[in-house]
Symmetry: C2
Subunit: 191 residues, 2 copies
DNA sequence: GTCTATACGGTGATAGAC
DNA sequence: GTCTATCACCGTATAGAC
């Protein structure tokens, strides 16, 4: 795998996360990634759509692996998820709540106009849901409960990141972390 | 208030909801709103930014009024909120999950580049939070609990709408409705 | 693999007539 | 209030040389 190609993908996913799909031009991607101008259509012959799909895919692999790894830090599922969410709030605060929701940024702009990217984002969300579902299963939750709770965690995280970005405040992320903890506790099979 | 001006605002908010900010051009707004071409800069001399702020503002007034009205339908706060969320899922399904998250669409694309629109979206989210907070307060929840839960509802709704749009499936909305009901029940002061 | 030049359409915005 | 003409700029994409 060439470094150039990977550099383009990483910069694209970074720019999508900060600016969204339509606001990110191919020119900006090339110039900020400090990549040869001629390489873009060499590595991504189908143009922006192909590049965007790869960028989303790359980002979600990275994020879901991070989540899965972090969730192993605490044996208890509820505590692990709570600590992860608080850690995300710390992360957001460090970068002044300027980023987050990389899938949503692409999904909202393209779901209605580009079927390929819509499907990519759909698969991305499914992938983000899995680590939570697995951890809850391992924690003794019934399969249907684990799935419903993982969907809820996925949704509330996405929403809270957007609220935090908009308000430039990590508070929404911290609030929902505590509420999800409560929900998990009163849904716990051992409760 | 002229009809032309209002038509432009309504069509703009509709297009933002479906396509986002950058994908929606002034030309499209004029042509689809069937409005005189020359009127746009007459009513909105500051251009797209001013129009966008008004469109977000209009939409959020409309939505928060709808939510507040619907929450009066059931005396019990928990049941009222649950029914409202399920109603939103029905709505989404009727339009094939093609819309929703009108604030998020603008917020994600502009929060990092346009301070005015960022603040508008921030105020919009605050406005969306209020009806839930009020209903919970009236239902006997302590002020700080009502606020935290309203923030969570706001976040989970925004996230679930995005998940539903992306998957073309109302299931995420229905799932989070049930989970929020559980959370409210086990947070209830009368429980 | 990379470069440059270029095509073509669309963007937000302005000026000046009516 | 509205229209038209026009602006400069930007977007993605392609062709052909090296």
């Amino acid at each position: 795998m060439s470094t150039t190609r990977q550099q383009i993908i990483e910069k694209t996913s970074e720019l999508f996360e900060r600016q969204g799909y339509h606001a990110t031009g191919l020119n900006q991607i090339v110039s900020e990634s400090e990549t040869p101008r001629g390489s873009l259509y060499y590595y991504f012959p189908e143009g922006k759509e192909e590049l965007a799909a790869e960028a989303v895919w790359y980002k979600v692999h990275h994020m879901s692996a991070y989540v899965r790894q972090r969730l192993t830090g605490y044996p208890d599922a509820i505590e692990a998820i709570y600590q992860l969410m608080m850690e995300m709030a710390d992360h957001a605060e460090q970068q002044h709540c300027s980023a987050g929701a990389p899938i949503a940024a692409v999904a909202l702009e393209t779901a209605g106009s580009n079927e390929r990217l819509r499907q990519t984002c759909q698969a991305a969300y499914a992938m983000m849901q899995k680590p939570f579902e697995e951890k809850l299963l391992a924690g003794g939750f019934a399969p249907d409960r684990a799935e419903a709770l993982a969907i809820t965690i996925n949704a509330v995280l996405e929403g809270a990141v957007i609220l935090s970005r908009t308000a430039r405040e990590s508070q929404p992320l911290r609030v929902v972390a505590a509420e999800i903890k409560t929900l998990l506790q009163c849904s716990s099979p051992t409760a």
